[in-house]
Amino acid sequence: MMPIAERDARDLRWSQLMAAAQAGDARAYETLLRDCLPLLRAICRARLRDPSDAEDAAQDALLTIHRVRHTYDPSRPFRPWLAAIAERRAVDRGRRRGRTSLREVDLEAAMDVATPERAADAELDSRRAAVELRRAVEDLPQAQRTALGLTKIEDLSLAEASSRSGMSVGALKVATHRALRSLRRRFGVEE
Protein backbone atom coordinates (compact mmCIF):
# COMPACT_ATOMS: atom_id res chain seq x y z
CA MET A 1 0.00 0.00 0.00
CA MET A 2 1.09 3.49 -0.78
CA PRO A 3 1.53 5.85 2.21
CA ILE A 4 -1.41 8.22 2.62
CA ALA A 5 0.79 11.34 2.53
CA GLU A 6 2.31 10.28 -0.79
CA ARG A 7 -1.10 9.45 -2.23
CA ASP A 8 -2.44 12.82 -1.17
CA ALA A 9 0.50 14.65 -2.75
CA ARG A 10 -0.01 12.74 -5.98
CA ASP A 11 -3.75 13.39 -5.93
CA LEU A 12 -3.16 17.09 -5.38
CA ARG A 13 -0.71 17.16 -8.28
CA TRP A 14 -3.20 15.39 -10.56
CA SER A 15 -5.92 17.74 -9.44
CA GLN A 16 -3.78 20.76 -10.32
CA LEU A 17 -2.84 19.25 -13.68
CA MET A 18 -6.53 18.66 -14.49
CA ALA A 19 -7.42 22.21 -13.48
CA ALA A 20 -4.73 23.43 -15.90
CA ALA A 21 -6.03 21.05 -18.58
CA GLN A 22 -9.56 22.42 -18.14
CA ALA A 23 -8.08 25.85 -18.86
CA GLY A 24 -6.55 24.46 -22.09
CA ASP A 25 -2.99 23.51 -21.02
CA ALA A 26 -2.21 20.61 -23.39
CA ARG A 27 1.14 19.79 -21.81
CA ALA A 28 -0.39 19.48 -18.33
CA TYR A 29 -3.12 17.29 -19.82
CA GLU A 30 -0.68 14.94 -21.54
CA THR A 31 1.44 14.68 -18.37
CA LEU A 32 -1.68 13.93 -16.33
CA LEU A 33 -3.00 11.23 -18.67
CA ARG A 34 0.41 9.54 -18.93
CA ASP A 35 0.72 9.59 -15.13
CA CYS A 36 -2.77 8.14 -14.74
CA LEU A 37 -2.47 5.43 -17.41
CA PRO A 38 -0.97 2.77 -15.07
CA LEU A 39 -3.83 3.34 -12.61
CA LEU A 40 -6.43 3.13 -15.40
CA ARG A 41 -4.84 -0.10 -16.63
CA ALA A 42 -4.75 -1.56 -13.11
CA ILE A 43 -8.45 -0.81 -12.57
CA CYS A 44 -9.41 -2.31 -15.93
CA ARG A 45 -7.21 -5.39 -15.45
CA ALA A 46 -8.81 -6.02 -12.07
CA ARG A 47 -12.17 -6.32 -13.82
CA LEU A 48 -11.22 -7.92 -17.14
CA ARG A 49 -9.26 -11.12 -17.52
CA ASP A 50 -8.30 -10.62 -21.15
CA PRO A 51 -5.32 -8.18 -21.37
CA SER A 52 -6.44 -6.76 -24.72
CA ASP A 53 -9.96 -6.15 -23.34
CA ALA A 54 -8.40 -4.39 -20.36
CA GLU A 55 -6.30 -2.19 -22.66
CA ASP A 56 -9.40 -1.38 -24.76
CA ALA A 57 -11.28 -0.46 -21.58
CA ALA A 58 -8.38 1.78 -20.48
CA GLN A 59 -8.61 3.56 -23.86
CA ASP A 60 -12.41 3.86 -23.48
CA ALA A 61 -11.74 5.43 -20.08
CA LEU A 62 -9.27 7.90 -21.63
CA LEU A 63 -11.87 8.93 -24.22
CA THR A 64 -14.56 9.34 -21.53
CA ILE A 65 -12.20 11.37 -19.33
CA HIS A 66 -11.66 13.62 -22.33
CA ARG A 67 -15.40 14.00 -22.96
CA VAL A 68 -16.38 14.72 -19.37
CA ARG A 69 -13.26 16.57 -18.21
CA HIS A 70 -15.47 19.59 -17.46
CA THR A 71 -17.26 17.59 -14.73
CA TYR A 72 -14.17 17.48 -12.50
CA ASP A 73 -14.25 19.93 -9.60
CA PRO A 74 -10.64 20.75 -8.54
CA SER A 75 -11.78 21.32 -4.96
CA ARG A 76 -12.47 17.57 -4.71
CA PRO A 77 -10.02 14.62 -4.82
CA PHE A 78 -9.10 13.57 -8.34
CA ARG A 79 -8.62 9.83 -7.86
CA PRO A 80 -12.27 8.92 -7.09
CA TRP A 81 -13.37 10.86 -10.18
CA LEU A 82 -10.85 9.04 -12.36
CA ALA A 83 -11.51 5.62 -10.80
CA ALA A 84 -15.30 5.95 -11.21
CA ILE A 85 -14.87 6.55 -14.95
CA ALA A 86 -12.40 3.66 -15.40
CA GLU A 87 -14.62 1.29 -13.38
CA ARG A 88 -17.61 2.23 -15.50
CA ARG A 89 -15.81 1.64 -18.80
CA ALA A 90 -14.37 -1.67 -17.58
CA VAL A 91 -17.84 -2.84 -16.53
CA ASP A 92 -19.26 -1.82 -19.94
CA ARG A 93 -16.46 -3.64 -21.75
CA GLY A 94 -17.03 -6.71 -19.61
CA ARG A 95 -20.76 -6.70 -20.40
CA ARG A 96 -20.08 -6.30 -24.10
CA ARG A 97 -17.57 -9.13 -23.92
CA GLY A 98 -20.19 -11.25 -22.16
CA ARG A 99 -22.74 -10.60 -24.89
CA THR A 100 -20.22 -11.19 -27.67
CA SER A 101 -18.92 -14.41 -26.19
CA LEU A 102 -22.39 -15.89 -26.46
CA ARG A 103 -22.18 -15.55 -30.25
CA GLU A 104 -18.46 -15.93 -30.89
CA VAL A 105 -15.82 -18.49 -30.03
CA ASP A 106 -12.28 -17.40 -29.40
CA LEU A 107 -10.15 -18.75 -32.27
CA GLU A 108 -7.31 -20.10 -30.14
CA ALA A 109 -9.71 -21.72 -27.71
CA ALA A 110 -11.57 -23.22 -30.66
CA MET A 111 -8.33 -24.70 -32.01
CA ASP A 112 -7.49 -26.16 -28.61
CA VAL A 113 -10.85 -27.83 -28.48
CA ALA A 114 -11.12 -28.87 -32.11
CA THR A 115 -7.61 -30.15 -32.87
CA PRO A 116 -7.45 -33.29 -30.72
CA GLU A 117 -10.75 -34.57 -32.08
CA ARG A 118 -9.87 -33.71 -35.61
CA ALA A 119 -6.44 -35.35 -35.28
CA ALA A 120 -7.95 -38.44 -33.69
CA ASP A 121 -10.54 -38.75 -36.44
CA ALA A 122 -7.91 -38.35 -39.16
CA GLU A 123 -5.65 -40.94 -37.57
CA LEU A 124 -8.50 -43.41 -37.26
CA ASP A 125 -9.44 -42.90 -40.92
CA SER A 126 -5.87 -43.41 -42.05
CA ARG A 127 -5.52 -46.63 -39.98
CA ARG A 128 -8.76 -47.98 -41.42
CA ALA A 129 -7.53 -47.23 -44.96
CA ALA A 130 -4.21 -48.96 -44.25
CA VAL A 131 -5.96 -52.09 -42.96
CA GLU A 132 -8.23 -52.22 -45.99
CA LEU A 133 -5.33 -51.75 -48.38
CA ARG A 134 -3.32 -54.50 -46.70
CA ARG A 135 -6.30 -56.83 -46.96
CA ALA A 136 -6.79 -55.94 -50.61
CA VAL A 137 -3.13 -56.64 -51.38
CA GLU A 138 -3.33 -59.98 -49.53
CA ASP A 139 -6.36 -60.90 -51.62
CA LEU A 140 -4.38 -60.44 -54.85
CA PRO A 141 -2.99 -63.51 -56.64
CA GLN A 142 0.55 -64.45 -55.53
CA ALA A 143 2.27 -63.26 -58.77
CA GLN A 144 0.57 -59.88 -58.68
CA ARG A 145 1.31 -59.49 -54.97
CA THR A 146 5.01 -60.18 -55.53
CA ALA A 147 5.26 -57.88 -58.57
CA LEU A 148 3.50 -55.03 -56.71
CA GLY A 149 5.65 -55.49 -53.62
CA LEU A 150 8.92 -55.40 -55.54
CA THR A 151 8.20 -52.67 -58.10
CA LYS A 152 5.88 -50.28 -56.18
CA ILE A 153 6.48 -50.85 -52.49
CA GLU A 154 10.19 -51.67 -52.47
CA ASP A 155 10.55 -49.47 -55.55
CA LEU A 156 13.06 -51.77 -57.29
CA SER A 157 13.86 -51.47 -60.99
CA LEU A 158 12.24 -54.02 -63.27
CA ALA A 159 15.63 -55.77 -63.75
CA GLU A 160 16.25 -56.04 -60.02
CA ALA A 161 12.72 -57.20 -59.39
CA SER A 162 13.12 -59.77 -62.16
CA SER A 163 16.33 -61.15 -60.73
CA ARG A 164 14.86 -61.18 -57.17
CA SER A 165 11.58 -62.88 -58.13
CA GLY A 166 12.68 -64.95 -61.09
CA MET A 167 9.80 -63.50 -63.13
CA SER A 168 10.46 -62.05 -66.56
CA VAL A 169 10.37 -58.28 -67.00
CA GLY A 170 7.28 -58.66 -69.22
CA ALA A 171 5.52 -60.82 -66.64
CA LEU A 172 6.34 -58.30 -63.89
CA LYS A 173 4.93 -55.45 -65.99
CA VAL A 174 1.70 -57.32 -66.68
CA ALA A 175 1.33 -58.53 -63.06
CA THR A 176 1.95 -55.02 -61.63
CA HIS A 177 -0.50 -53.50 -64.09
CA ARG A 178 -3.19 -56.04 -63.20
CA ALA A 179 -2.58 -55.63 -59.46
CA LEU A 180 -2.99 -51.85 -59.67
CA ARG A 181 -6.10 -52.18 -61.83
CA SER A 182 -7.59 -54.63 -59.36
CA LEU A 183 -6.88 -52.35 -56.37
CA ARG A 184 -8.27 -49.32 -58.17
CA ARG A 185 -11.47 -51.20 -58.91
CA ARG A 186 -11.74 -52.38 -55.32
CA PHE A 187 -11.40 -48.82 -53.93
CA GLY A 188 -13.64 -47.29 -56.56
CA VAL A 189 -10.91 -45.20 -58.21
CA GLU A 190 -11.54 -44.58 -61.94
CA GLU A 191 -8.76 -45.34 -64.33
Binding site: A21, Q22, A23, G24, D25, A26, R27, Y29, E30, L33, R34, L37, R41, E55, A58, Q59, L62, L63, T64, H66, R67, V68, R69, H70, T71, Y72, D73, R76, P77, P80, W81, A84, I85, R88
Partner: protein, 219 residues
Protein backbone atom coordinates in the same frame (compact mmCIF):
# COMPACT_ATOMS: atom_id res chain seq x y z
CA UNK B 1 -3.74 2.20 -31.52
CA UNK B 2 -1.48 2.32 -28.47
CA UNK B 3 -2.87 4.05 -25.40
CA UNK B 4 0.18 6.35 -25.30
CA UNK B 5 -0.57 7.48 -28.89
CA UNK B 6 -4.21 8.09 -27.96
CA UNK B 7 -3.06 10.33 -25.11
CA UNK B 8 -0.86 12.33 -27.51
CA UNK B 9 -3.82 12.77 -29.87
CA UNK B 10 -6.22 13.82 -27.10
CA UNK B 11 -3.73 16.35 -25.73
CA UNK B 12 -2.94 17.73 -29.20
CA UNK B 13 -6.57 18.72 -29.81
CA UNK B 14 -7.21 20.06 -26.31
CA UNK B 15 -9.55 23.00 -25.91
CA UNK B 16 -10.42 24.86 -22.71
CA UNK B 17 -13.72 23.85 -21.13
CA UNK B 18 -16.20 25.55 -18.80
CA UNK B 19 -16.69 23.52 -15.66
CA UNK B 20 -20.21 22.25 -15.00
CA UNK B 21 -22.20 24.06 -12.34
CA UNK B 22 -22.37 22.84 -8.78
CA UNK B 23 -25.51 20.66 -8.33
CA UNK B 24 -27.04 23.34 -6.08
CA UNK B 25 -26.68 25.96 -8.81
CA UNK B 26 -28.01 23.57 -11.47
CA UNK B 27 -31.01 22.82 -9.23
CA UNK B 28 -31.69 26.53 -8.74
CA UNK B 29 -31.54 27.16 -12.50
CA UNK B 30 -33.81 24.17 -13.10
CA UNK B 31 -36.37 25.39 -10.56
CA UNK B 32 -36.41 28.82 -12.20
CA UNK B 33 -36.88 27.22 -15.63
CA UNK B 34 -39.61 24.81 -14.50
CA UNK B 35 -41.25 27.52 -12.37
CA UNK B 36 -41.35 29.85 -15.37
CA UNK B 37 -42.97 27.25 -17.63
CA UNK B 38 -45.48 26.08 -15.01
CA UNK B 39 -46.20 29.68 -14.04
CA UNK B 40 -46.96 30.45 -17.69
CA UNK B 41 -49.33 27.45 -17.82
CA UNK B 42 -51.09 28.70 -14.67
CA UNK B 43 -51.38 32.15 -16.25
CA UNK B 44 -52.99 30.59 -19.32
CA UNK B 45 -55.42 28.27 -17.48
CA UNK B 46 -56.04 30.45 -14.41
CA UNK B 47 -55.84 29.55 -10.73
CA UNK B 48 -58.66 27.44 -9.31
CA UNK B 49 -61.16 29.77 -7.70
CA UNK B 50 -61.07 28.10 -4.28
CA UNK B 51 -57.29 27.71 -4.01
CA UNK B 52 -56.82 30.24 -1.18
CA UNK B 53 -59.70 28.68 0.74
CA UNK B 54 -58.36 25.14 0.39
CA UNK B 55 -54.84 26.13 1.35
CA UNK B 56 -56.15 28.05 4.34
CA UNK B 57 -58.19 25.06 5.47
CA UNK B 58 -54.98 23.02 5.34
CA UNK B 59 -56.38 20.29 3.07
CA UNK B 60 -53.84 20.49 0.28
CA UNK B 61 -50.85 22.21 1.83
CA UNK B 62 -48.92 19.15 3.11
CA UNK B 63 -49.51 17.39 -0.19
CA UNK B 64 -48.26 20.39 -2.19
CA UNK B 65 -45.20 20.77 0.04
CA UNK B 66 -44.41 17.05 -0.36
CA UNK B 67 -44.77 17.27 -4.15
CA UNK B 68 -42.56 20.36 -4.25
CA UNK B 69 -39.98 18.64 -2.05
CA UNK B 70 -40.04 15.62 -4.39
CA UNK B 71 -39.39 17.89 -7.39
CA UNK B 72 -36.59 19.70 -5.60
CA UNK B 73 -34.82 16.67 -4.11
CA UNK B 74 -35.15 14.58 -7.27
CA UNK B 75 -33.53 17.41 -9.26
CA UNK B 76 -30.68 17.82 -6.78
CA UNK B 77 -30.09 14.05 -6.75
CA UNK B 78 -30.08 13.97 -10.57
CA UNK B 79 -27.45 16.73 -10.75
CA UNK B 80 -25.32 15.00 -8.10
CA UNK B 81 -25.51 11.66 -9.92
CA UNK B 82 -24.63 13.35 -13.20
CA UNK B 83 -21.10 13.84 -11.82
CA UNK B 84 -18.84 10.76 -12.11
CA UNK B 85 -17.44 10.70 -8.58
CA UNK B 86 -20.72 10.94 -6.67
CA UNK B 87 -22.12 8.08 -4.65
CA UNK B 88 -25.01 6.29 -6.32
CA UNK B 89 -26.98 6.43 -3.06
CA UNK B 90 -27.83 10.02 -4.00
CA UNK B 91 -30.63 8.37 -6.00
CA UNK B 92 -32.42 7.67 -2.70
CA UNK B 93 -32.56 11.37 -1.72
CA UNK B 94 -36.13 12.05 -2.96
CA UNK B 95 -37.48 8.82 -1.46
CA UNK B 96 -38.68 10.37 1.88
CA UNK B 97 -40.46 13.14 -0.03
CA UNK B 98 -42.12 10.60 -2.36
CA UNK B 99 -43.26 8.54 0.63
CA UNK B 100 -44.56 11.70 2.35
CA UNK B 101 -46.38 12.70 -0.84
CA UNK B 102 -48.06 9.30 -1.15
CA UNK B 103 -48.84 9.36 2.58
CA UNK B 104 -50.52 12.79 2.41
CA UNK B 105 -52.64 11.61 -0.53
CA UNK B 106 -53.47 8.36 1.27
CA UNK B 107 -54.36 10.29 4.40
CA UNK B 108 -56.63 12.49 2.27
CA UNK B 109 -58.40 9.37 1.02
CA UNK B 110 -59.01 8.22 4.61
CA UNK B 111 -60.37 11.66 5.54
CA UNK B 112 -62.72 11.57 2.52
CA UNK B 113 -63.83 8.09 3.54
CA UNK B 114 -64.57 9.30 7.08
CA UNK B 115 -66.45 12.35 5.85
CA UNK B 116 -68.39 10.99 2.87
CA UNK B 117 -68.32 7.22 3.35
CA UNK B 118 -67.58 4.93 0.35
CA UNK B 119 -68.88 7.69 -1.94
CA UNK B 120 -65.76 9.68 -1.04
CA UNK B 121 -63.57 7.05 -2.75
CA UNK B 122 -65.51 6.96 -6.00
CA UNK B 123 -63.11 7.06 -8.90
CA UNK B 124 -63.92 8.67 -12.23
CA UNK B 125 -61.66 9.33 -15.16
CA UNK B 126 -59.73 12.59 -15.35
CA UNK B 127 -57.71 12.58 -18.53
CA UNK B 128 -57.00 16.33 -18.34
CA UNK B 129 -54.85 15.63 -15.26
CA UNK B 130 -52.86 13.04 -17.14
CA UNK B 131 -52.58 15.27 -20.21
CA UNK B 132 -51.47 18.32 -18.19
CA UNK B 133 -48.78 16.55 -16.17
CA UNK B 134 -47.50 14.50 -19.10
CA UNK B 135 -47.84 17.40 -21.57
CA UNK B 136 -45.83 19.67 -19.30
CA UNK B 137 -43.66 17.04 -17.62
CA UNK B 138 -42.17 15.44 -20.71
CA UNK B 139 -40.90 18.68 -22.35
CA UNK B 140 -39.66 19.90 -18.96
CA UNK B 141 -37.79 16.62 -18.53
CA UNK B 142 -36.00 17.29 -21.82
CA UNK B 143 -34.90 20.66 -20.45
CA UNK B 144 -33.68 19.08 -17.23
CA UNK B 145 -31.75 16.45 -19.16
CA UNK B 146 -30.12 19.16 -21.24
CA UNK B 147 -28.82 20.68 -18.01
CA UNK B 148 -27.53 17.24 -16.95
CA UNK B 149 -26.36 16.05 -20.38
CA UNK B 150 -22.77 15.53 -19.14
CA UNK B 151 -24.11 12.37 -17.44
CA UNK B 152 -24.69 10.76 -20.85
CA UNK B 153 -21.40 8.77 -21.01
CA UNK B 154 -21.63 7.58 -17.40
CA UNK B 155 -25.01 6.87 -15.81
CA UNK B 156 -27.74 8.43 -17.92
CA UNK B 157 -30.59 6.15 -16.80
CA UNK B 158 -30.86 7.09 -13.09
CA UNK B 159 -30.27 10.75 -13.95
CA UNK B 160 -33.03 10.63 -16.58
CA UNK B 161 -35.43 8.85 -14.21
CA UNK B 162 -34.84 11.39 -11.43
CA UNK B 163 -35.16 14.23 -13.95
CA UNK B 164 -38.53 12.85 -15.08
CA UNK B 165 -39.70 12.48 -11.48
CA UNK B 166 -38.68 16.05 -10.68
CA UNK B 167 -40.40 17.50 -13.76
CA UNK B 168 -43.60 15.50 -13.15
CA UNK B 169 -43.75 16.38 -9.44
CA UNK B 170 -43.40 20.09 -10.21
CA UNK B 171 -46.03 19.82 -12.97
CA UNK B 172 -48.31 18.14 -10.44
CA UNK B 173 -47.89 21.12 -8.09
CA UNK B 174 -48.80 23.40 -10.99
CA UNK B 175 -51.85 21.30 -11.79
CA UNK B 176 -53.03 21.41 -8.17
CA UNK B 177 -53.13 25.20 -8.45
CA UNK B 178 -55.29 25.06 -11.57
CA UNK B 179 -57.53 22.04 -11.57
CA UNK B 180 -60.60 21.12 -9.53
CA UNK B 181 -59.92 17.77 -7.95
CA UNK B 182 -61.43 17.68 -4.51
CA UNK B 183 -61.42 13.93 -3.97
CA UNK B 184 -58.05 12.76 -2.64
CA UNK B 185 -58.42 9.41 -4.37
CA UNK B 186 -58.65 11.19 -7.72
CA UNK B 187 -55.47 13.11 -6.96
CA UNK B 188 -53.73 9.94 -5.81
CA UNK B 189 -54.68 7.93 -8.88
CA UNK B 190 -54.45 10.53 -11.65
CA UNK B 191 -51.50 12.55 -10.41
CA UNK B 192 -49.75 9.36 -9.36
CA UNK B 193 -50.38 7.74 -12.72
CA UNK B 194 -49.21 10.82 -14.62
CA UNK B 195 -46.02 11.09 -12.55
CA UNK B 196 -45.35 7.40 -13.13
CA UNK B 197 -45.87 7.79 -16.90
CA UNK B 198 -43.49 10.77 -17.14
CA UNK B 199 -40.86 9.02 -15.02
CA UNK B 200 -41.06 5.88 -17.16
CA UNK B 201 -40.87 7.87 -20.41
CA UNK B 202 -37.82 9.69 -19.01
CA UNK B 203 -36.20 6.43 -17.91
CA UNK B 204 -36.54 4.77 -21.31
CA UNK B 205 -36.15 7.73 -23.69
CA UNK B 206 -34.07 10.06 -21.52
CA UNK B 207 -30.68 8.37 -21.99
CA UNK B 208 -31.06 8.58 -25.79
CA UNK B 209 -32.07 12.23 -25.59
CA UNK B 210 -29.10 12.98 -23.32
CA UNK B 211 -26.67 11.31 -25.70
CA UNK B 212 -28.08 13.34 -28.61
CA UNK B 213 -27.94 16.55 -26.55
CA UNK B 214 -24.42 15.81 -25.41
CA UNK B 215 -23.25 15.06 -28.95
CA UNK B 216 -24.91 18.23 -30.28
CA UNK B 217 -23.33 20.47 -27.66
CA UNK B 218 -19.86 19.16 -26.75
CA UNK B 219 -18.11 20.64 -23.76
Amino acid sequence: MRSEDLITQLAAGLRPVRRVWHPAKSTAVWLLLAGGVIGAAIAVFGLRHDLAQRLASGFDLPQLIAALATGLLAAFAAFELALPDRDQRWALLPLPAVVAWLATMGWGCLQDLARFGPEGLRLTTSYPCLAFIAGLGVPLTMGMLWLARHAAPLRPTPVAALGGLSAAALASVGLSAIHHLNAAVMVLVWHGLAVLVVTLVATFLGPRVMRAEEAAAPA
